[in-house]
Amino acid sequence: MGYGAIVIGVSSGGLNALMKILPSLPENYPIPIVIVQHVSPRSDGYWIESMNRTCRLNVKEADEKEKIERGNIYMASANYHLLVEKDKTFSLSTEAKVNFARPSIDVLFESAAEAYGEELIGLILTGSNSDGALGLRKIKEEGGLTIVQDPETAESPSMPAYAISTTSVDHIFSLEEIANFLQTLGEGN
């Protein structure tokens, strides 16, 4: 079965973790990737430019109404929730913080689960809160594939641990295993 999108939720320790996964993906990687990284509301997005220089895929902020397409890694903007519509375009929202976060991982994951159903892969990485746990459960309920970073290998273990306690996830991997798995998945997609 082909996958339509990968959604990733990550918080504290996130840049290091993402840098161990994303640069290894080839520029013709067939599955678009959408990421909520918790950042300060005042972040200017410079770190996205710096990631774009390191990755072979195109790393950019997700624009409102933008169509989700392969070849891209989309990052949620600071201070805006990011949602996926049924027609595989993005919506932004400034509604109240969810789990003390804007952007919130749950908001992205729950809307993406509705849009992609079983063609979605959800991935929770390092973080010191509980955001993303409900979203990951929703992905599982809709038949998608769920992966969580092994809490023992995470810089901040509580976000992965919380996700694992809430959902019977499909895979618990180290960052290296996640990178390999995503590459293999791309080859078969």
Binding site: K65, L83, E85, S91, E95, S111
Partner: protein
Amino acid sequence: MAARDSTEIEIDLLLEAIYQKYGYDFRQYSDAHIKRRIMNRMVLSGYNTVSEMQFQLLHNKSFANDLLHDLSITVTEMFRDPGFYRSIREKIIPILKTYPFIKIWHAGCSTGEEAYSMAILLTEEGLMERTTIYATDFNQRALDDAKQGIFSNTLIKEYTTNYQAAGGRSAFSDYYIADDNMAIMNQNLKKNIVWANHNLVTDSVFAEVHMILCRNVLIYFKRELQNKVHKMFYESLINGGVLCLGSKEGMYFSELKDAYQDLDPRQKIFKKKY
């Protein structure tokens, strides 16, 4: 035709009922956003289906008010995106100074924080006396709060930081009186603000103005509705007038994008061409 998801059918019917009974039209709002707001209210109120909410919406006025309030996003802050206000000061004020009187339309002002921010900025630039700010929203509850100009004291620290980052020329505390809980904005800031109920979706052109601010409102609309509102803004602006959108809103998808020139693309400030 493939069968649709029951919840989606129920949401469509709920939005139709809101429109027919209360006149608020959310039928062209982004689906994912609307669904999220409605499901939130459903869980909060302890209902299992949207259909159960349909009954409450039609027969329980206080439930209807809560739901309508949920569907209007009232999150805002003073000097939100300080870089935007800095840009207004540097790039737009010189343009506004050339007019003998100035009319500004703040569409979707919510609880008024940004209208007060603009009043402070215009006061510091010596323009407030000859300016009228028309601050409008469809949410009467938010508008009533805005008119009061009373904000929670817990937010003042953040607002002060924003004000300073926006290039404020005074002390932010010059503009309010505070006690332990509340900060009350100075009365003279309100003198030239006209608060009015106006619905961007169902009402028509509001006034002829020199500048429109509509920040983080259009993101909730589907493209067709965005275009309709853009047309209304275009008709409301004088030639050479200025349109200010939210930091993640662009003109890319607007049919009118060629009718404007970029004044500050990063801050989403546009000028209507002559």
